[in-house]
Symmetry: C2
Subunit: 214 residues, 2 copies
Amino acid sequence: MSTAPDFDEAFKDKLEDLFRWRRDVRKFKTDPLPVDLVDKILSIACVYSPSVGNSQPWRFVKVNDPKRRAAVKENFEIQNREALDNYQGEKAKLYASLKLAGLDQAPVHIAVFADTQTERGAGLGQSTMPETLKYSAANAIYTFWLAARAYGVGVGWVSIVDPKMVADLMDTPPEWEFMGYLCVGYPEEENQTPELVRHGWQERGELEAFIFER
Amino acid sequence: MSTAPDFDEAFKDKLEDLFRWRRDVRKFKTDPLPVDLVDKILSIACVYSPSVGNSQPWRFVKVNDPKRRAAVKENFEIQNREALDNYQGEKAKLYASLKLAGLDQAPVHIAVFADTQTERGAGLGQSTMPETLKYSAANAIYTFWLAARAYGVGVGWVSIVDPKMVADLMDTPPEWEFMGYLCVGYPEEENQTPELVRHGWQERGELEAFIFER
């Protein structure tokens, strides 16, 4: 067993910067990403993410087929229009003005799934909480997201799609559950403030809203 | 808008170390943690974690009541014995030998929930995928986990409990869904290899198992 690295004050400050500057990116440059860069970030996510029972249930599907990409974009537009119907008046106007996905510009698209029937890990930790498999896949998306940010790459997690439609489109095993569609590329801009705060949709809450005692 | 920080090669290497050395910790020192240290790590998780629609649905409940802690431990032991019944022969022996939670020693216990009916974010991004609220809470746990590791603090995410029992025990709103019980404290040891790999339960897979193309 090697000695653990020293995570000094400078690193801890920079780590907090990383968390602070990681955005859900919707505006991308169309510049291609080097393939080995994408593979590096994917590798970090796939090897080091936490998973219940070491199940590693994440499945990252790089979507390169233009027809599949077009179908996802079309579905996003349909679902986004339907979502707009949930709002009225000023809220609806604001919703309609938001850019919620960079499907057109992002050079790399990745559909992420959780293999809900993986034998890896032999079910350890899942008996009473089978949903932990999906939480592990969500954590792998977040590892990808953080690592990408450190490498200057932006990621947008698109959930405004019909999960069943995307799964069928990707021709993946039926036990794979769709987690999200990632738009990946160099961001048009960097910002330490979330888009939805900047555009007036939702402010951040105070800590008292999130931390309790029993 | 300030200039984004530079995440240089040294930081990227150290970030990869952080991912590599973050463990699910089951063996803790009983030494108390400074309250402001726990609050710092909680603050990082609550302010900076990604969330669908900026909903911030995470609810961290610090469990200080010894009776509640004892009840969780008792439930873990019951559920762990039941989980053992899923295995036979050598696998069962191995399962029985694993230490799967540090409930006895960890000085800090936190029950984490997702507020599935939060109005924050006004449902943005959730219409077709309401489960993204829980994925956001899972990611807040992971931010806590990573930040803790950078501060030399270990975290174990315990899922071998009855989620409904823990929710009832914590007397939290019924719409809060239990995500996991965190044991938090200084780890007895550091290791860059997952416990379940070290103890022969589950090896890590190769990248081909996780990355696909369409």
